[in-house]
Amino acid sequence: MWESFGFEFVNFYFIPGLVLGCIYALGAIGITLTFGILRFANFAHGEVMMTGAYVTWTIMAITGALFGWALHPLIAAIPSIFLMILVFFVVDRFFYKPFRKAPTIKVVMASFGMMLVIRSLVQILWGPNQITFVRGIAKPNGFIRELTGSLDMMILVPNKHFLIMAGTVVIVILLGYLLTSTRIGKAMRAVSDSPDLALVTGIDVEVVIRATWIVGGACAVAAGVFLAMDIQMLETTMGFRMLLPMFAAAILGGIGKPYGAVLGGLVIGLAEELSSYPWIGDSPLLSPGYKSGVAFSIMIVMLIVRPSGLFKGRTF
């Protein structure tokens, strides 16, 4: 059974689906928090993901050239996170804040414009061509292969995938702690629940907004770096390609519900990968060219059937 079905299914469809799902999940966390607390769909989120990955690579390249260090992407990602949070602050202050009290459509248009501004900046600074992020072919992790092989269910997981999944778990646990056990986290949930009530309760909404950008930014950079690790390269359309599935994940999980975003991301990632599995007969259920349509279809169905999402988030 494992030989004929399980091996191929788990290693080439299921696990890649989980990995993709983790990336979507992390990106969707930022989107759902922004949607819930700032009340708008931030179209520039994908570009921040991508820029975070580019900056990480640049840090790796510079430290490699100057000091001969071979920094691991996850280490180089840390200064990148700080930088991108700063970028978020600047963008918010100059381009989003003026529309805090205006109709939502204005800030959505502004974020659409920022999407292109940021992408163009990256294209100017780093050029439009693909850049190799990590060289070489990813070999399966030996320990896991041995362990599962001895159980007759061999699982091949390249280190990079293992790191991505483990990293996502760590981030989600930290996020959960933040939201349930810290004062600022509870305030974030409160503002997401009812910004008007938060205002008259005396909660400083601008502080909460800043916290949202910090958490969202950190998750976005993590998602971007993980994506770069996965496909082992950088390109300027990376962010936009992820945008639709991330929105779909946030909507699927319920706007404003971070755990929902995580679940939504995993579901969509798995759905995308599993859609090209030959469930019936020999050819893929869905032609791989249409993979990106899967996320969109799930989203449309959710919007029509149950707009509040799985975890009963906000409906506008």
Binding site: A41, P98, A110, L116, Q123, P128
Partner: protein, 354 residues
């Protein structure tokens, strides 16, 4: 003299492309200005129009379906119908969504349309696209047109050939540009009539105060779908004209949403959303800025290349993105400082408080 002709032809192409963008902007204005629909999937509807026109009017080809060689007029009308049909289906499903969600949904739809065009290679020749699309006026010089009716009624093939060889090679360009301007004018006039008609006034009422309109028993959703379809049909028309202008279309780069969708939105907002005249003005204005910036940047690159050691090649590839960056910043500036655009809307009815 040749240089003058060069400038003249450049001017014609500015008019032509500006006109195409004007058409798209007018279509978008029906959706946004009349009905308040935030459509970010413009590129999708334009591409449907373009492909429909192309498939119907190009010559038979082993690479793709169609190639029926139908008259251009049929192709244009079919383009509008195709766009309208697809938008009708989408509209019925999505029209009730709030603006953020509608934006996301329309982006998704444009993506799906692109995927369909890219993947169905037997029909559309996939990523390689369709070429040799007949261009109005220029098509008269092609053999398959003057050999056939109606041109063959007026003169024989040889007569046509000698007429065309006596004209300057570029004779069709001003004719083409003029035709587009006329089309823009006609659409503009029709839309203005529509705006002042009972339907138009109802749309204004819905946009100003939707709950009141609902309470008065108006079928808000139905009207919105109508606006959506009408706007898409105009975009389909623009798509057909775009296909004519380019003569070669393919699914990914021709209809690049960052240029097509985004630029048109900047045009509409700059010109004055809700405003047909503003749509046209904004289109030409932004298009001129876009084209002119290309020249300015190229000149700048040459200057920099002369004074420094930076390789001109690298500069020029990256400079293209500089234009997009500046337009993006321009949009932010306009959104904050001139939210009503250059030509604020003039309301036909009495003023109401916002």
């Amino acid at each position: 003299m040749d240089q003058l002709i060069g400038y003249f032809l450049y001017f014609c192409s500015l008019l032509a492309v500006g006109g195409i963008y004007s058409l798209i902007a007018l279509g978008l204005n029906v959706q946004w200005g009349f009905a308040g629909l935030f459509n970010v999937g413009i590129a999708g509807f334009v591409s449907i129009g373009a492909y429909t026109y192309a498939l119907l009017t190009t010559d038979t080809s082993p690479l793709h379906y169609g190639g029926l060689g139908l008259p251009l007029a049929v192709g244009i009308v079919a383009a509008m119908i195709a766009s309208g049909l697809i938008s009708a289906i989408i509209g019925v499903i999505c029209i009730r969504l709030r603006s953020d969600y509608l934006a996301i949904a329309t982006i998704g739809i444009a993506e799906i349309i692109k995927l369909v065009l890219k993947n169905n290679s037997e029909i559309t020749n996939g990523p390689r696209g369709i070429n040799k699309i007949p261009r109005l006026w220029e098509n008269f010089t092609e053999e398959r047109f003057y050999n056939d009716w109606p041109m063959s009624w007026f003169a024989s093939a040889e007569t046509w050939q000698s007429i065309f060889s006596s004209l300057p090679r570029w004779w069709w360009q001003p004719c083409f540009a003029l035709s587009i301007i006329i089309a823009v004018y006609v659409v503009y006039k029709l839309l203005e009539k529509l705006r002042l008609s009972p339907w138009g006034r109802m749309m204004t009422a819905i946009r100003e105060n939707e709950p009141a309109a609902h309470a008065a028993g108006k079928n808000v959703t139905g009207r919105r779908i109508e606006a959506f379809i009408l706007g898409s049909m105009i975009m389909g028309l623009a798509g057909a004209v775009l296909a004519m202008h380019l003569r070669l279309i393919e699914p990914t780069n021709t209809f690049d949403p960052s240029k097509l969708t985004f630029l048109v939105w900047v045009m509409l907002i700059a010109g004055g959303s809700g405003n047909n005249r503003g749509a046209i003005l904004g289109s030409f204005l932004i298009w001129v800025i876009w084209s002119a910036s290309e020249i300015v940047i190229n000149v700048g690159i040459d200057v920099i290349g002369d004074f420094t050691n930076i390789h001109v090649g690298i500069l020029s590839t990256r400079a293209g993105y500089l234009r997009m960056l500046l337009i993006g910043l321009l949009l932010q500036y306009i959104l904050q400082k001139y939210p009503l655009g250059i030509l604020p809307e003039s309301r036909p009815t009495a003023s109401s408080k916002t």
